[in-house]
C-alpha cells in the first residue's frame, strides 16, 4: 500500500491526524498535511484508508 498526499488540495481539517497520528501530521506553519509513512505497515492499512475517506478535501489517495 502506498499513501500519497496533495498539499495544494489540503484544507488543514486535521481529520487525518485525528484518525492516525502515526501516519499523518500537520505543518506548524499552515496546518497542511505532512505524510509520516508513505508505506504503512499492515497494522495501519485500515486507518490509512479511513483517513483517505474522511479527508474533506480529497487530498489523500491510496494506491
Amino acid at each position: 500500500m502506498k499513501i500519497s498526499v496533495d498539499q495544494t488540495k489540503c484544507c488543514g481539517s486535521g481529520m487525518c491526524v485525528l484518525t492516525d497520528p502515526d501516519l499523518f501530521d500537520q505543518s506548524e506553519d499552515d496546518g497542511t498535511v505532512v505524510l509520516l509513512q508513505e508505506h504503512p505497515d499492515a497494522a495501519h492499512e485500515a486507518t490509512a484508508k479511513e483517513a483517505a475517506g474522511l479527508c474533506p478535501a480529497g487530498a489523500i489517495t491510496i494506491s
Binding site: 484544507c11 486535521g14 500537520q26 499552515d30 496546518g31 474533506p56
Partner: protein
C-alpha cells in the same frame, strides 16, 4: 423518471432531537429531489449522506451567497444586494483562490496538535465554570451558567477579545442568527459587531506582540485590516454559538437518554466517540449548507445545471442508513459515528472542529462526573427550543442536582 418536487422545505420538528419527519420521508423516496426557492427557482434538495459529500466536495459549486437563490423570502426581492455581497475576509462565503489564501493564514493555529496542547487549559475553564454552577446550590440554567460561558471564554481568550466586552457582540450575534429578525435588524447587528472588530484590530495594531490568534494573524502582515477584522468576526461567531448549542442540547439529549448517559459515565473512554455520535445525531443546524452550481454537473445521476441552487440537509443526511446502518434514528454512543457531515465536508469543513471536539469531550464528561445526579428541572416538553434561530439548540435548560 418523474422527479419528486417539494414546493416548500418542511421545517417543523415533531420532537426536539429529530429533524422534520417529512424531510426523512423525502430521503426515503429520493436522496436528490427538487425544491422550490422563494423566487420560484426550481433547485435541488440533497438528503443522502453520500450525495451531500459529493456536492460539498465538488469544485463546480460556489458558496457565494450572492449567487444563491434564497429559501427565505426575507432575503429575496426587496433585500438589497448589499446584504449578500461578500466582504473581504469572509472566507466562509468565498471560493478558491481567495478562500484558500485566507484559510491558510489560520489553519496553522487550529491543528490537532495545537488544540491538544490546549486541553489542560480548557479543562481549567470547564472546572471553574462547574464551580460557578455549583454556587447556585441545587438549580440553575445550564445554558446561561455553563454551556454558553465555556466556549465564549475559550474563544475570547484565543482571539484576545476581552470577555468582559461580550455584551458588545453576544446580543448582536443572537439578532444576526435569529430567523425572526428583519433583514434590516440583522444588517444593523452585523454592522455593530464589525465596528467592534475594527476597534479590536486597531487596538492590536497599536499594541503588537499579544499572545493571541488575532495578534499572530496581524504579525504575518498578510491580511488587510478589513480582511483581518472580518476573519476575526467569523472566528468569534463560529467559536461561541456552535459549541455552546451543542453543549446545551447535547446535555438535554443525554438527560433524556439515561441508558446512554450511563454508558458515558461508566465507560469514560467512550467520550471521543460519544461526541461524534452527538454531533451526528443532533447536527444543530436546521438545514443547509447551500451551494450553487457554476457549471453543469452530474451528481448521482442527476444533471444539475449551472446556476441551479442546491440545499443540502445535513441533519437528515446524518441519519442516512446507507452510511449509518442499524438504526440511525437512535442515539447510540458506541456506534461508529465517524464520517458524519455535521462539521460539513469539502474545503469549507469547519476550521475549528478540533477545538470544538476538545471543548465537548471535556465539557460533557466533567459535567456529568461532577454532577452525577443532574436532572431536568422542567417538564421536557417545556424546554425552550431554538426553532427561531439559524443554529438550533435550547434557549435555556433548567437543571437541578442535590446540593
Amino acid at each position: 423518471m418523474t422527479e419528486l418536487i417539494s414546493e416548500k422545505l418542511p421545517t417543523t420538528r415533531q420532537n426536539p432531537f429529530d429533524p422534520p419527519a417529512e424531510v426523512t420521508r423525502i430521503r426515503e423516496q429520493a436522496r436528490i429531489s427538487r425544491l422550490r426557492f422563494a423566487d420560484g427557482h426550481l433547485g435541488w434538495l440533497v438528503t443522502g449522506h453520500h450525495q451531500v459529500r459529493e456536492v460539498l466536495g465538488s469544485p463546480k459549486f460556489t458558496t457565494d451567497p450572492a449567487k444563491h437563490h434564497q429559501l427565505d423570502a426575507r432575503f429575496q426581492g426587496e433585500a438589497p444586494e448589499e446584504g449578500r455581497k461578500v466582504e473581504p475576509g469572509m472566507f466562509l462565503s468565498q471560493d478558491a483562490p481567495d478562500h484558500t489564501r485566507l484559510r491558510k493564514m489560520l489553519q496553522g493555529q487550529f491543528t490537532v496538535r495545537r488544540m491538544n496542547q490546549l486541553s489542560e487549559w480548557i479543562g481549567t475553564i470547564v472546572d471553574d465554570q462547574l464551580k460557578h454552577l455549583r454556587s447556585f446550590e441545587g438549580r440553575a440554567d445550564l445554558v446561561k451558567e455553563f454551556a454558553l460561558p465555556v466556549p465564549s471564554l475559550v474563544i475570547c481568550a484565543l482571539l484576545g477579545v476581552d470577555y468582559d466586552e461580550r455584551h458588545r457582540f453576544q446580543e448582536d450575534t443572537a439578532k444576526m442568527l435569529s430567523l425572526e429578525s428583519t433583514f434590516k435588524e440583522a444588517m444593523e447587528a452585523i454592522r455593530r459587531i464589525q465596528d467592534f472588530m475594527r476597534e479590536l484590530i486597531e487596538r492590536k495594531k497599536a499594541n503588537p506582540g499579544g499572545d493571541d490568534m488575532i495578534s499572530d494573524l496581524l504579525a504575518t502582515g498578510e491580511p488587510t485590516d478589513e480582511e483581518a477584522s472580518n476573519m476575526a468576526l467569523l472566528l468569534l461567531l463560529a467559536g461561541h454559538e456552535t459549541t455552546a448549542n451543542m453543549l446545551g442540547i447535547g446535555a438535554f439529549t443525554l438527560l433524556q437518554h439515561p441508558d446512554q448517559l450511563k454508558i458515558l459515565r461508566d465507560e469514560p473512554e467512550v467520550v471521543d466517540n460519544a461526541v461524534e455520535e452527538l454531533m451526528r445525531y443532533l447536527s444543530i443546524i436546521h438545514f443547509g449548507p447551500v451551494r450553487t452550481a457554476t457549471e453543469d454537473v452530474e451528481i448521482d445521476g442527476h444533471l444539475i445545471k449551472a446556476g441551479d441552487t442546491v440545499l443540502m440537509h445535513v441533519p437528515v443526511a446524518n441519519r442516512d442508513p446507507e452510511k449509518f446502518p442499524g438504526n440511525p434514528e437512535e442515539l447510540d454512543l458506541r456506534r461508529p459515528a465517524g464520517g458524519h457531515v455535521a462539521f460539513g465536508h469539502g474545503i469549507h469543513q469547519c476550521l475549528g472542529q478540533q477545538l470544538a471536539r476538545i471543548e465537548m469531550r471535556i465539557g460533557f464528561s466533567r459535567l456529568f462526573q461532577e454532577f452525577p445526579d443532574l436532572r431536568l428541572d422542567i417538564d421536557p416538553e417545556e424546554v425552550p427550543l431554538r426553532t427561531d434561530m439559524g443554529i438550533y439548540g435550547v434557549h435555556s435548560l433548567p437543571v437541578a442536582w442535590s446540593a
